[in-house]
């Protein structure tokens, strides 16, 4: 905290600023207009992920508008002296994947990016949140942001997840429980034995979708899992600095018995694989459930919103979703494109074939992950099953790069948003875990993975 003044928001120092091609060009233009420099290029890192194709990197970017956007970031990074993981760089990847994997994201930091899934970095006990382009310009110019304090919101997840139930199901259950606006104005802290038992990659999956329950940020207190993940990574401290850092990081967790402004809980013991049926991530249910009936909703606007969602999705109230025919399976995105996600999907696809009516795309979150997966032979498992193994990027999570559904198609997707048209105009998305996605890829219909374990 640089400054706090009566009446004005606090001036918050930003320890790490991640930049991508879509929300930054206008911010750099603004800097040029005001004749400003990037104040701390050494705390700023840029990559391309949203507009970039996931076809082989030997091919050029076909879409001239996307190519111009990627080119613009490269120029901006060069002009302002910002480290840049470009299209051909061995460290390129989804901005929320490369931060952690390079050790850039560390406990206690403030992390921002012009992207609402910045909450991902909260898995390390960092305060990480998405900002708009005006704020990107603010951070580039001053390395600070004007901020008001958020409410604290405890999400306690206790118990033990059963086989077939994953971190993705925890966060989809939270979205379903409190709704897409449930955490507005708050920062989540995920606590409880089930959260402690999660790997760092799984914690990232949970924190990633905090925004889908309305909270700009969500975090997990750092512990030995956090330190073990960070040790030895490129930008993590080393030697004596490492010991000093760990000692400081150990002081970060919330005091026992601390009071939160808000709280909720999820029972891991009884949690089932989750899936969404509607057009926002809060419209989700256990995979054994039935599509809800708008007739049973009291509030008129809410009822109309549900009716509109089911009409868009082409679903009938009261029917189970399991067995619904699908056209595409997408395994990727900043939610679920890390090694553990790919291993989980491969464990289902190994020795099985993808259903003939389904296109299956597997898109690793970064070039580092792609190489690691190939070293483990996961690419062969995917290819032999009939799935596509592609280059790193956001791909069909946001459908800006040519990877998209056609109107009316259904997908089971490991991404984070099922908004109308999110995966391509007229496309219809069921959000689920990598296990559920892989199981559905094999059968060609929405499938409870527990029937295949």
């Amino acid at each position: 905290m640089v400054a706090e003044r009566e009446g004005a928001p606090s001036l918050l120092y930003i320890d790490l600023h991640l930049v991508h091609e879509v929300t930054s060009p206008q911010a750099f233009s603004g800097l040029r207009e005001r004749g400003a420099k990037v104040r701390r290029p050494d705390l700023t890192f840029a990559t391309v992920d949203h507009s970039t194709p996931t076809t082989p990197r030997s091919l050029p970017i076909v879409d001239p508008i996307a190519a111009a956007q990627v080119d613009q970031l490269e120029k901006n990074a060069a002009e302002f002296g910002i480290p840049y993981f470009g299209f051909q760089n061995a460290n390129q990847g989804i901005v929320h994947v490369i931060g952690p994997e390079n050790g850039l994201t560390q406990p206690g930091m403030t992390v921002v990016c012009g992207d609402s899934h910045t909450a991902t970095h909260g898995a390390f006990g960092a305060l990480a949140f998405g900002i708009g382009t005006s704020e990107v310009e603010m951070v580039l110019a001053t390395q600070t942001l004007l901020q008001r304090k958020s409410k604290s919101y405890e999400v306690a997840v206790n118990g033990t997840l059963r086989p077939g139930v994953t971190a993705k199901d925890i966060i989809l259950a939270l979205c379903a429980k409190i709704g897409i606006g449930g955490g507005t104005g708050a920062v989540f802290e995920y606590t409880g034995t089930a959260i402690r038992a999660l790997s760092m990659e799984e914690r990232m999956t949970v924190c990633n979708m905090s925004i889908e329950a309305g909270a700009r940020a969500g975090l997990v207190a750092p512990d030995d899992s956090t330190f073990a993940y960070l040790a030895g990574r490129k930008y993590a401290p080393a030697g004596a600095e490492w010991d000093k850092a760990v000692a400081l990081w150990k002081q970060l967790p919330t005091d026992a018995g601390a009071a939160y402004d808000l709280s909720t809980s999820i029972d891991a013991n009884t949690l089932e694989p989750m899936i969404t049926f509607g057009t926002n991530p809060g419209m989700g249910m256990a995979i054994s459930g039935a599509v809800p009936d708008p007739g049973g909703v009291a509030d008129s606007t809410e009822r109309e919103s549900l009716r509109k969602a089911l009409a868009y999705m082409g679903l009938e109230a009261g029917k189970p979703l399991a067995g619904q025919k699908i056209d595409v399976v997408f395994i990727g995105s900043c939610t679920n494109s890390r090694m553990s996600d790919l291993r989980a999907a491969a464990s289902v696809l190994k020795g099985r074939k993808v259903n003939a009516g389904v296109r299956v795309m597997v898109v690793p979150g970064s070039q580092q992950i792609k190489r690691q997966a190939e070293a483990e032979g996961l690419d062969r498992v995917f290819r032999e099953s009939g799935a596509e193994w592609r280059e790193a990027g956001c791909s069909m999570c946001i459908a800006m790069n040519g990877d998209q559904l056609t109107p009316g198609q259904y997908s089971v997707s490991t991404s984070n948003r099922n908004f109308e048209g999110r995966q391509g105009k007229g496309g219809r998305t069921f959000l689920a875990s990598p296990l559920t996605a892989a199981a559905s890829a094999v059968t060609g219909v929405v499938t409870d993975v527990r029937t295949m374990l």
Partner: protein, 198 residues
């Protein structure tokens, strides 16, 4: 800043920024020309022709500066293209029962007022609009009030600093740059802080 305008109604809850402006329009490196892309997939047919029945395609909406929307308006993606598109279409205020946090921030930085009212006031306004579709509402930022003929004058909350910036036309980045000495002093002390990057 005062607004006196007819009202455009768009009563769907949880309108996300992907609807306000679909992602495929974010490949631009400029801020302009986004007004025509506002609510593109709800507003135009597959061949690009406007859907005449969609509210934003009516002459009345095009002249209106106030949008009344459902709960949790602007959820989802942080794209500032959403308020850019809304203001370029002509809106200066959105009235709802709640707004998503990032959208609210982005709006205030673009002189688009996110006006939060209670469910009761929202219902009363919709009732007044049902009785008179040409009803005009008045918004006074200085007084923080929204009112209409025959209705109450309702106070709405707005962050004091944002209000000051809107009314005085303050450049927020310029304001923060005046704190350079404090920022530099904080940075000097960061050697002992948690940060290990620099």
């Amino acid at each position: 800043m005062k607004i006196d305008s007819t009202v455009t109604q768009f009563l769907v809850d949880n309108i996300d920024t992907d609807q306000i402006i679909p992602a495929r329009f974010l490949k631009t490196i400029s801020k302009v020309g986004l007004g025509d892309q506002l609510f593109y997939d709800w507003r135009y047919n597959a061949d690009g022709s406007p859907k005449p029945e969609f509210v934003l395609n009516t002459e009345k909406a095009k002249k209106s500066q106030v949008l009344v929307a459902g709960d949790n308006f602007g959820c989802g993606s942080s794209r500032e293209h959403a308020p850019w598109a809304l203001t370029q279409y002509g809106f200066q205020a959105v009235i709802s029962t709640s707004f998503a946090d990032i959208f609210k921030n982005n709006s205030l930085k673009n002189r688009l007022l996110p006006i939060v009212v209670s469910k009761e006031v929202h219902t009363a306004l919709l009732g007044a609009l049902a009785a008179d579709p040409d009803l005009r509402v008045s918004v006074d930022v200085e007084a923080q009030t929204v009112s209409w003929t025959g209705g109450p004058s309702v106070t709405f909350p707005i962050d004091a600093f944002s209000k000051h910036c809107i009314l005085a036309g303050v450049d927020e980045i310029g304001y923060v740059q005046q704190h350079e000495a404090q920022i530099a002093a904080f940075e000097a002390g960061r050697v002992l802080s948690l940060n290990t990057l620099g």
